[in-house]
Symmetry: C2
Subunit: 260 residues, 2 copies
C-alpha cells in the first residue's frame, strides 16, 4: 500500500506566526501523499470578543451557538485555512483547503442534547475516502479545517483531533497511514513539568496503567484514546510530539509512538 | 466539446437568504459540468463595522488594507463560501468551495500602485484549467470565492466578475462554455428604471453604439467589457440576467445575450 501521512496541528502553533511558518515549511517537504488537519487557536475567541459576542464555556468546551458557529466557520475554514494554503503554495506544495462540507468529505450529525447542549457541534458519521483518494491522485494536499456538515445544509463545529482520527482510520483501508498529532510539547510526558520525560512508546495496556497511575492528565486522555482507537482500526502508527520536530517524529526519532 | 456552465452570482442575492436559497436550488438542478463564482455582499462591511475597522472607498472601490483583507478572506472564502457549499450539498450537488489559492486555481499579482493604492487587490495572471478539469472529472462542482494568491504566500482580493471571465476564457479551450452573470436585474436595460426594457442581444458594435448614446451606465460597463472579452476569447455565449430566472437565462429565453 502507498504511504499516507496525516498530520494534525494544534492551536498553539497556529497562534504563533513564526512557528506556523516553520511548521508549514517542513510539512511541505514531506514527500508523497499527505493531509493536514488544523485546529482553531485563539483567533476565533479574539474576533468574537471584538464583535461583542459572548462565549459560553462548559467543561472547558465552547458552546457553539449560531453566532459562534459563524465566527468559527469564518476563522477556521476562512482566515486560518486559506492563509495556510497560500503559505504552502509558496513552498510549492499544491494545497487545497477544505472543510468537511466540501466534496462531502466529512458527514456528521449535530450532537444530541444530553446534560449540556453544545449547540452546533458535529459528531462524525462518515468520511468519503474515495474522494480523498481522487484529490490525492491529482497530486493535491488536502488541508482540512474542523468544520463538518449534516447534508441538510447545516455546518457543524467538530473536534480536530477526532477528525484526524476519523480520516486516518477511513484511509487505513487503502493506504499505509501514519497519523501525527503535533503540538507544543515534546510528546506524552511522564512528568508534565519536564519536557525530557517523554514516554517513547504507549500501547493499550500501558495506557491503562498510566491512566490508573494518574500519570496522564485530562487534556492528553482524549488524544490518546483517539490514537489507540486509530491503531485498533488499522492505522499503522500514531505519533504525538512537537510541531517543530515534524521530520524526526515521522522517522520515529522523537515524540511518543502509539502502537499495538 | 462537453458543455460547461459558469455562473457568477452577485452580492445582492447573497445578502438575501430566501433569494440565495432559491438560486442555489435552481443552480444545483443544472445538469453536467458547472462552476459557481460568488461575490461578497454586504457581510464584510458589516463585520468590519462590528470590529471597528474603518473602510476606505475610492471611486466606489474598497481599499483592501491588511485588516480588510483578513475580513474579506474570512467572509468570502469562509462564511459565504462554506454556507453555499453546505446548501448545495443539501440539494445533492457535490460542491467544493475554493479560493484561487486552493489547488493553485487562480494565480494573480498585487495591482501596481498607480493614482491610488488599492492595497491587497489581485489582477489575474493564470487559471489552472487542467486542475479544474480534474475536479470536474471527479463530478465535483467548484464554488469559487473572489480571493486569489500570488504564489508568495499572499492572498489577494479580486473582482468576481473578472474571475468569472478569466475562468470562462481559460476553460473555452477545452469546453463549450456558457458564462452567466446573474444579478438583481432582468438584464441589460435600455431604461434603467424599466425592468421591461431588456436589450435582448448585444455584440461589440452595438455595445459601442449603446455606450456612445449613454444608454449603458457606469456599473454595467465593466460587466459588458468582461462579457465581450470572453466572447472574443472563445466563450460560446455570455448571458446577463436575473438570478431567479437561471434556467430561462441558460435557455436564452430571458436576459441579455452577448455574442459575436
Amino acid at each position: 500500500m502507498e504511504k499516507l501521512y496525516i498530520v494534525k496541528i494544534g492551536g498553539n502553533v497556529i497562534d504563533n506566526e513564526t512557528d506556523l511558518h516553520a511548521f508549514l515549511e517542513s510539512f511541505a517537504a514531506i514527500k508523497g501523499n499527505k493531509i493536514l488537519i488544523h485546529g482553531g487557536g485563539k483567533i476565533a475567541t479574539r474576533i468574537a470578543e471584538g464583535l461583542g459576542i459572548e462565549q459560553t464555556m462548559v467543561n472547558g468546551r465552547r458552546i457553539t451557538d449560531k453566532q459562534t458557529l459563524d465566527i468559527v466557520v469564518m476563522t477556521y475554514a476562512g482566515l486560518i485555512n486559506k492563509n495556510i494554503v497560500a503559505k504552502l503554495q509558496s513552498f510549492s506544495s499544491n494545497a487545497i483547503g477544505l472543510c468537511g462540507a466540501d466534496a462531502n468529505i466529512i458527514l456528521s450529525h449535530k450532537r444530541a442534547v444530553g446534560e449540556y447542549d453544545y449547540g452546533y457541534v458535529g459528531d462524525v458519521d462518515a468520511v468519503d475516502t474515495a474522494m480523498l483518494q481522487g484529490l490525492l491522485a491529482l497530486n493535491l494536499t488536502p488541508i482540512l479545517s474542523p468544520i463538518t456538515h449534516d447534508k441538510n445544509g447545516v455546518l457543524l463545529n467538530t473536534n480536530a483531533d477526532t477528525i484526524a482520527q476519523e480520516i486516518a482510520t477511513a484511509c487505513a483501508a487503502v493506504y499505509d497511514v501514519s497519523l501525527i498529532y503535533s503540538f507544543e510539547k515534546n510528546g506524552v510526558l511522564a512528568d508534565i513539568n519536564d519536557e525530557r520525560s517523554v514516554i517513547q512508546n504507549i500501547n493499550a495496556s500501558s495506557f491503562t496503567q498510566l491512566k490508573n497511575d494518574g500519570v496522564i492528565s485530562d487534556g492528553m486522555l482524549p488524544k490518546l484514546e483517539n490514537a489507540l482507537k486509530a491503531i485498533d482500526l488499522g492505522v499503522s502508527k500514531v505519533i504525538i510530539g512537537k510541531a517543530d520536530q515534524l521530520h524526526e517524529l515521522i522517522q520515529g526519532q522523537k515524540g511518543t509512538t502509539i502502537g499495538k
